[in-house]
Amino acid sequence: MIEVQNLTKRYPGRTAVDGISFTVGRGEVVGFLGPNGAGKSTTMRILSSFMPATSGTVRIAGYDVFHQPDEVRRRIGYMPENNPLHIDMRVRDYLKFRARLKGLGIGRSRQRVDRVIEQCGLKDVEKRIIGQLSKGYRQRVGLADALVHDPDLIILDEPTIGLDPHQLRSVRALIKELGRQHTVLLSTHILTEVEMTCSRVLILNQGRILAADRVEDLESRFSQDGRVVAEIDATPEAIREAFRDLPEVAALEIQAAAGAFQRVAFTPKSGQDLRPLVFEQVRQHDWSLRELTRPRLSLEDIFIQLTQKKKGGDL
């Protein structure tokens, strides 16, 4: 659906996007993740053919955004940053206006507007002036606008910014719902959002892609070398004694935990899963066990790791 090759955008004195390449397949929900100023909005503006790239090519559904912009525009539903709307218009009139601009005939636009009003839960407010709506509703109007011409690809620039938890939940659910029928590319700097809505994530920083992976793979790739944590009811000495001679365990750290328990962190020699082994030892010594986990890095940790590496210059 999207093919980007060596995309670069330079502003005077600043490179916003620096030679990025990626592809997004039909039906995927992909998240663009990065801090403010990472180049997310710039990339999305180029994809939606609002502005041209300095170099590189972008193809959407097989059409080049530079040479066939109108074909691309017909196939994209784009919600720009901060969700700009004509706040003096009524919801239904606005959506009708947008549908007409996107080339839908009068009958077809009425039909589609009815459909998106229902889909985005705007039935109750369709006659109200957009300027008087809450931010959550306005966001839904923006989504309805992106959807109104039934595009193949939906590009949403920070669709959940500034929403309260209730509105967040409903907007995310809506995006997830959209992902069933459309290809979706969304940007955010909220990590949990990517985990909740996206199947794949592209991490951007300073105009470059730091990582591109499925959300689950990314977590395991950056998990802490297979470390296992257990809370065991025994003395530190006894625990050390029990695990000393096992060749699979490279190191262990013990910390006192609440009660008589010790919190033990095991590091394996060669990335294997130590959990069955730990359990076996605990069972043999007849200790009690109240936790046995392999902690995984959250996207947040991954992101901090990646961006710090970047600063160190070794990536």
Binding site: R45, S48, S49, F50, M51, P52, F66, P69, D70, R73, R74, I76, Y78, P80, E81, N82, P84, L85, H86, D88, M89, F97, R98, R100, L101, K102, G103, G105, I106, D145
Partner: protein, 251 residues
């Protein structure tokens, strides 16, 4: 065509939904009211008064004040406000052509401008009733006046639309077109009053003088050269606007 009309309707909607739209109408009515007072005074004092259109549109400055003050306010919104709000991005990522957008914004401004003049027609009809002197209000002169309002208005509006396309600040857009408008008016006054016999440059400037054009129109003389001049200038500035938009889109 459907898309064009949709855009024109949006422009008019935005004008009537905003305070500035009503400010424009208020300015026009207020100044036209002063103009009316002036006319009534002259009709009372002069034994053989000049026809009303000449008093109002050629000799007086009321027409020029209205034109110069309202056109920047009408047009400043067209591009600058959309850019500042971000709706410009939403507009330009739909498959509409640049010319469609430029012409729709200009047409919307022109229609609003003509509507803001419409109370004046009522004023003239009232004057005709009260004075009972049909020679003061010749229908041909009225046609000339309307042509003049539309033609010279188009020129000023196209300059305003162009100024608005250059910036995201409505104030800067309004100030730019206001300055150009005042410049054109004062130069025109200067050259239409100058003694132009024989001097080639003077004659040329006289042909370009917008005040001279309006004097002709107010006498009911619809001069083809003036029409062509205003249509060309309007087209020229709309062309520049289209280039600016295209350049911003692709450079």
């Amino acid at each position: 065509m459907g898309v064009f009309l949709t855009l024109v309707r949006r422009e008019l909607g935005a004008a009537f939904n905003s305070l500035t739209g009503y400010v424009v109408v208020a300015i026009t009515l207020l100044l036209a009211g002063f103009g009316l007072m002036d006319i009534v005074q002259r009709l009372n004092s002069d034994r053989t008064p000049s026809p009303i259109p000449e008093i109002f549109f050629a000799d007086g400055i009321v027409f020029w004040l209205i034109l110069i003050l309202t056109t920047p306010v009408i047009t400043m919104r067209t591009f600058a406000a959309e850019k500042a709000l971000g709706t410009y991005e939403a507009l330009m990522t739909t498959p509409v052509g640049e010319w469609q957008v430029v012409l729709a914004k200009f047409t919307g401004s022109l229609v609003f401008y003509l509507l803001s003049w419409s109370p004046l027609i009522g004023v003239l009809i009232v004057l005709r009733q009260v004075t009972q002197q049909p020679q003061l209000l010749d229908p041909w002169a009225m046609c000339g006046v309307l042509t003049g309002i539309a033609c010279i208005g188009s020129t000023f509006l196209s300059i305003g639309v162009f100024a608005s396309s250059l910036t995201r600040s409505q104030i800067i857009a309004a100030m730019t077109s206001l300055l150009i408008g005042i410049g054109m008016w004062t130069l025109s006054l200067r050259f239409s009053q100058a003694d132009t016999t024989g001097d080639r440059l003077g004659r040329l400037m006289d042909h370009l003088s917008v005040t001279h054009h309006m004097q002709d129109f107010a006498r009911g003389v619809i001069d083809g050269r003036a029409l062509v001049f205003h249509l060309s200038v309007t087209f020229f500035f709309l062309f520049l606007t289209q280039r600016v938009i295209e350049m911003r889109r692709w450079k």
